[in-house]
Symmetry: C2
Subunit: 247 residues, 2 copies
Amino acid sequence: MAAKLPHALYPLIRKLESVTRLSDEERQAIESLPVRVRTLPAKQDIVRDGDRATQCCVILEGWAYRYKFLAEGRRQIFSFHIAGDIPDLQSMHIPLMDHTLGTMTQAIVAFIPHENLHDITARFPAIAAALWRDTLIDAALFREWLISMGRRPAFEHLAHLFCELYLKQEAVGLAGDHRCPLPITQIDLADATGMTSVHINRVLKEMRGRGLITLHRQTLVVKAWDELVRASEFDATYLHLQKRTAG
Amino acid sequence: MAAKLPHALYPLIRKLESVTRLSDEERQAIESLPVRVRTLPAKQDIVRDGDRATQCCVILEGWAYRYKFLAEGRRQIFSFHIAGDIPDLQSMHIPLMDHTLGTMTQAIVAFIPHENLHDITARFPAIAAALWRDTLIDAALFREWLISMGRRPAFEHLAHLFCELYLKQEAVGLAGDHRCPLPITQIDLADATGMTSVHINRVLKEMRGRGLITLHRQTLVVKAWDELVRASEFDATYLHLQKRTAG
DNA sequence: CGGACGCTTGAAGAGTATCAAGCCAGGTGG
DNA sequence: CCACCTGGCTTGATACTCTTCAAGCGTCCG
């Protein structure tokens, strides 16, 4: 008996199943979605602000982010995405992009035409619900980022972001032992938190100094998880993870 | 022939129809949803952070907002809501509330059990799509607020918010002629923008001084719309309004 | 080996917060 | 009907967080 290779969309199925129970029929329906898999280089836009999207994109490997440019080169990053995410799922119902989705690292992505997504959600309400829920969790993260921007000082804000990024990866098996990949430059961190890279650098220095984390060669090591959580008043509820992590 | 009274959920139907075309059958399905209509006083919570919701709430009249408290009385407001909005629609798929929904003014609201919403969305994919789309626009506003928080200075930020609040009301016929209700205190504006009420006050003073707006007795009058738009780099795309306003 | 990119640090300045006080209008009770 | 009280608005003085500008360093890669 030959071992069965995992399906290309396995990261997506793994993510959905961490949140909903899928019947065999539903899983098969997802697996028979027509996908076009591509490997993209780092720092390449996938869909741009102003584009009219006709397909969605599943991240299979690597990192992506969503952002928007303003005048004078100002940029705001909205979210970071890892394997299993569909960062532009919203384009299914709002095809006109109001921001850009791009890769951060080299990435493998699968494209699925909107047409087929509309079809599968019409036939399987449970899949529609799972995807809808995914976009709602997306929004919950935006709200938490709003809190960080509006009401948390720089140190708390950054600490909070690190807690979030670690737990998101841990929840899908991409991290553990309080260490995880973090292919994010200080400039990216600045554009995600609304600060300058200079200030990010100084805050990171203090975090290191206080023995909370190290961040080196695109790897985050949390050396004092409890303290990081306390310092940022982190409460994972908003992530709405099903299998709650031990922390 | 007696004139037919508008249905209680008319504000909701009006909003959905500004975005999707509803068949007679679909409109009837909405009209036959079991609703419990209540008049609530100002500043009353409707669902609280931590609650497990079993119903959603349609604003029929008045204003509501969503917010969350942090330690030391810090508060972040996420959104303002007017007639036709379903501010807690996300509780359909994420019943555990991670923030609070409350009234700002006295308000008339209609409650609809999740059960019936799940039923109607399963039977009418077009209604499901319209509601899903609504939650996605919600998220688009969060993203725009993130930009304002992260990358716009106070003056631009506040100007941008005023453009948004005016257009949202204009789109459903609650405002026109560059004037609209705005029952928001300076403290609320502060908690929505991540500033202090003192600073809000000073920015408002400058806006008045530059002849852009007046804000008095809960009424916003935009005296120089084009300039307000220019000052805040406002681009209405993210509101995804169907009938585009003249501006 | 050179260049680009990302990280690091210092000095000075801007924007916003904090603290404190006073004002005004509307609503309530005597 | 007036006195009072409260919530919201306004203003000044001072403090601080974070930005800006500038320069230098390390490392990876062509």
